[in-house]
């Protein structure tokens, strides 16, 4: 490949940031100083440089974190180091919302404007910022900070939320939740940040918990504490059972994935274990970006070794040599906690060449997302890890056959994987006795919006929605419940008279709803539902990767139709607009490449069909 470099040079800081990740350049051909005596007149080793393409996103992160944006010089240097064509790298850099190819101040406040935060004053917060500072992107007078609107930051239990990203020597991100206007204005003025408060853990220490047993109980930085609370017993048992034994237990447990698609975990593991092609990869999907979802964050922040142990059991059963945790970029605490846990586990022989002396070789690394909901899609996640734009692949081939780097890959959500501990501990049949016939095991739900005690709740499948809402203290301030969003933006609404719905996959399906990623977001009677729908539409428009027409244009047309309905200016009457929304939804559902487009209309259609939103306006117009 003959690359034409960008005519710009990196600064010393940019070069150092990239070199810290990639090591010093090996020759003048890949970004080092040119010296004909050393480099010769022909380049070699291009394949090796290109073999590190998967480090493109980490390299872009390194620059962004060091100087706050990706300058032409920095982009040029990254391209030379990895032998990536500049146009290609530019396409990757512009795909992610947290990266910027335009100059940005070193401090950026990402202020959540999504639906859960709207229940807790995000609209007012943003309106106040607009009034006091200026529209998003306005740079503070001293040039050192700006603010931007952000989709859900996964801090819905402490809404409203903001994420402060500080670039520079001591770069880092800090969650401000709940965020206050004074706090944000102080941050914009370069002031110190409030320390991130602890997560509310409403069930902390309650007996009978399985997935959350240790969350809030053990010290997440201490491997010894983890072991004192039963940690690594499951792995020992798994080693004794052997790969086939573990697979049998997982199949017998009849457990399905918790990320939203509900695919049988045992079938996935078996399929990868049986693939002759090597190596096998394990990708842990921790990119939870579904508005209202924060359970994986709570698990990682509170019990990181549990995830590592579960991943090791999966690796043992499926023959994976490498695991990647794809963690969303907005989770700084989870990143720090998990990173430290990986180091510790490695140092203690629980990851590495010979895990627990069993002969199992398995190691884990974290890959940080950069602000793209779509990268939680099970094939887009591979593209992102490999250093490409996070565009979903066409299936088949499925990940179990051709996944990460074209190899058989297990891709499971964090919560799904953590269930492996309980399955191995109890045995498959005993695990299957938890919950219901069709939905086995414990389940985490993320309660947010208008509930008295938001947070992550663990219940057994079969609990009703009413019981769950009561667990969270119900609707506060004596207000009446208007609707519940179940399953997230890709899920659907249910009415207050449907609260006896049993939370199982089969009951949800029968009721025309979905559990999705476990979102339960309550809205009281003060919420302007049509405007909420408009925000959901905006979310999908923002997060569509743009690859296929139904989703790329359909999400825009859906938003435009809703905008007309909300503004009371329907074209051709409300009936006609609702028919148009239904048609768009049908096409996106039928013809989009991936699950994002296929579900981009489901919450909106359920609000129209189930809650009758816009029906009153319809009566008035008719």
């Amino acid at each position: 490949m003959d690359l034409k470099p960008i005519a710009a040079a990196p600064t010393g800081a940019e070069r150092a940031a990239v070199d810290a990740l990639l090591g010093p350049p090996e020759s003048g051909w890949v970004g080092g100083p040119r010296d004909v005596a050393v480099d010769g007149r022909s380049a070699h080793g291009g394949h090796a440089a290109r073999g590190r393409r998967h480090l493109l996103l980490p390299a872009l992160h390194a620059v962004q974190e060091r100087v706050g944006w990706i300058s032409p010089g920095a982009l040029s240097y990254v391209c030379q180091r990895l032998t990536v064509p500049p146009a290609d790298a530019y396409g990757v850099a512009t795909f992610y919302a947290l990266l910027s190819v335009e100059p940005r101040p070193p401090r950026v406040l990402h202020v959540c404007e999504d639906i859960a935060c709207r229940c807790r004053g995000a609209d007012e917060l943003i309106a106040a910022l607009e009034e006091r500072v200026g529209p998003e992107g306005t740079v503070a007078p001293d040039g050192a900070a700006t603010w931007l609107r952000s989709p859900c930051l996964g801090q819905c239990d402490r809404a409203p939320a903001a994420l402060v990203a500080d670039a520079g020597e001591g770069h880092g991100e800090t969650v401000q939740a709940p965020a206050s206007l004074d706090g944000l204005l102080g941050a914009l003025a370069g002031g110190p940040l409030a320390p991130e408060p602890a997560d509310p853990l409403p069930q902390q220490g309650e007996p009978g918990l399985r997935l959350l047993r240790r969350v809030g109980v053990v010290d997440p930085t201490s491997l010894d504490d983890y072991r004192a609370h039963g940690g690594y017993e499951a792995l020992r048992r798994a080693i004794a059972l052997g790969p086939e034994g573990v697979l049998r237990e997982v199949v017998d447990a009849k457990v399905v994935g918790r990320g939203g698609a509900a695919f049988p975990m045992g079938r996935k593991w078996e399929a990868v274990a049986r693939q002759p092609a090597r190596p096998h990869y394990l990708v842990c999907n921790a990119d939870e970006s579904e508005p209202g979802t924060f359970k994986d964050r709570a698990l990682i922040e509170g019990d990181p070794f549990a995830l590592l142990e579960a991943m090791t059991i999966c690796a043992l059963a499926t023959g994976c040599e490498r695991g990647v945790v794809y963690l969303r970029g907005e989770y700084p605490r989870a990143h720090a906690v998990l990173g430290a846990a990986i180091e510790e586990a490695r140092a203690r022989g629980l990851l590495g060449e010979d895990v627990l002396g069993s002969g199992l070789a398995f190691d884990v690394e974290i890959r940080k997302g950069a602000g793209a909901y779509i990268c939680g899609e099970e094939t887009a996640i591979f593209e992102s890890i490999e250093g490409y734009r996070g565009e979903p692949r066409s299936k088949p081939p499925f990940p179990v056959v051709e996944g990460l780097f074209g190899r058989p890959t297990v891709v499971n959500n964090v919560e799904t994987l953590v269930n492996a501990l309980e399955i191995v501990r109890l045995g498959g049949p005993a695990y299957a006795a938890i919950g219901t016939e069709g939905s086995t095991g414990p389940k985490l739900f993320c309660l947010s919006g208008h509930v008295a005690r938001p947070g992550v709740y663990e219940v057994e499948f079969g609990t009703t929605l009413r019981e769950l809402l009561e667990l969270a203290g119900g609707v506060p301030d004596g207000r009446a419940l208007q609707a519940v969003l179940l399953g997230g933006a890709a899920g659907g609404f249910v009415r207050p008279d449907e609260l006896d719905l049993r939370l199982t996959f089969e009951d949800a399906r029968a009721a025309g709803a979905t559990l999705g990623s476990g979102v339960v977001m309550a809205f009281d009677d003060t919420v302007d539902l049509p405007r909420l729908l408009l925000r959901i539409a905006a979310f999908f428009r923002n997060e569509s990767c743009g690859q296929c027409v139904p989703c790329r244009v359909g999400t825009v047309r859906q938003q435009e139709a809703l905008a007309r309905l909300v503004r009371g200016r329907p074209r051709g009457g409300v009936e006609a607009e609702l028919a148009l929304v239904a048609e768009l939804g049908r096409c996106m559902r039928d013809a989009s490449i991936c699950g994002l487009g296929q579900t981009a209309s489901s919450a909106i259609e359920s609000a129209i069909g189930r809650l009758g939103v816009f029906a009153a306006a319809n009566g008035g117009a008719g």
Binding site: L3, T94, F95, S394, G546, C548, A563, L580, R586, C587
Partner: protein, 314 residues
């Protein structure tokens, strides 16, 4: 192709399309089966010489057992597959896809578009009048947009890029089929001058940092023009004639000849209007070129016309 197949014999798979059995080679697609049966299937992002990206979704069909529609251009035929191409569900998605495209993209120079739009009774106007061009389109930030009021239908319209003597890029006409990117990249030219940048509705074809073509890696092979299905990429000669209202394909002839420059001997197809070459291509089914040329074959034709000086130099 006339040459003998020297590969190991390929197995055949038998599938059913619209109630009729058809046999295709293993590895061939549903689209191949449709074509064998003479079932007209619309395609836009599909290119005969490129790996399918199945992005436009206009070729979708129903496959028994599949929850969603599947793109016929990329889905490999399987033994016993039952496919339906003429159902209401298929027609609905195809119509919507065409409406979504036609309401957001200028399809005026896309040869296939008018027939498709008519066949599926597409009504792109129902989304509202098109929004005006956006000069800032190249700088859109991923994950952000200005909230629309719904009074106009958003479009990809942006100013035409005329930054070199040989060809123009009018991304108002771009349906984002990825073909130019694939032709420029590893599938044909290995130049990698362009890529898809941005995200979602703001995704667009771009050079690095939106630099003009002469500053980019472009080598002016024009192989992107050859695969563009909508005329978004166009010979400057064609663009100028169209601007002047003088482009008239009924007055054009096409002549196949051999490129005079090097020993490869690529076939050139010269499109001639009023005794002047207005466009140069190569047949896509040509064994050697696959429709590709280099800058000399594609654009180096001025010497043929040099003996006929412009009668009106003003």
């Amino acid at each position: 192709m006339s040459e003998a197949r020297l590969l190991a014999p390929t197995r055949m798979v038998e599938l059913e399309i619209d109630g009729r059995g058809v046999r295709v080679f293993e590895g061939e697609t549903i689209l191949d089966g449709c074509r064998r049966l003479g079932i007209e299937t619309p395609t836009l992002c599909y290119g005969e010489t490129l790996r399918p990206v199945n992005a436009c979704r206009v070729c979708v069909v129903e496959v028994e057992g599949s929850r969603v529609l599947v793109p016929s251009c990329s889905r490999k035929a399987e033994q016993g597959m039952v496919v339906r191409t003429g159902t209401e569900r298929v027609e609905h998605s195809r119509r919507l896809v065409l409406e979504l495209l036609a309401s957001s993209v200028d399809l005026s120079t896309a040869p296939a578009a008018p027939a498709y739009l008519e066949r599926y009774a597409a009504d792109p106007a129902r989304f509202g009048p098109p929004a005006p061009p956006d000069p800032e389109r190249d700088r859109k930030r991923a994950g952000h947009h200005v909230e629309p009021d719904g009074e106009t239908a958003a479009t990809v319209h942006a100013p035409v890029k005329v930054d070199n003597e040989l060809y123009v890029r009018d991304y108002s006409k771009c349906i984002l089929c990825y073909k130019c990117v694939d032709a420029c990249g590893e599938q044909h030219q290995n130049t990698f001058a362009i890529a898809v940048a941005g995200r979602g509705f703001d995704a667009r074809i771009s050079t690095e940092l939106v630099v003009e073509l002469p500053e980019s890696a472009c080598v002016y092979c024009g192989n992107c023009i050859a695969v563009c299905p909508t005329g978004a990429l166009m010979f400057r000669s064609e663009h100028e004639l169209r601007e002047a209202g003088a482009w008239d394909e009924s007055r054009q002839t096409q002549t196949d000849t051999v490129c005079p420059y090097c020993g490869v001997g690529c076939t050139l197809t010269l499109h001639v209007q009023d005794d002047r070459i207005v466009r140069v291509g190569s047949p896509a089914d040509h064994d050697i070129t696959l429709g590709n040329l280099c800058v000399k074959g594609r654009f180096g034709f001025q010497h043929v016309q040099a003996r006929d000086p412009d009668p009106d130099p003003a």
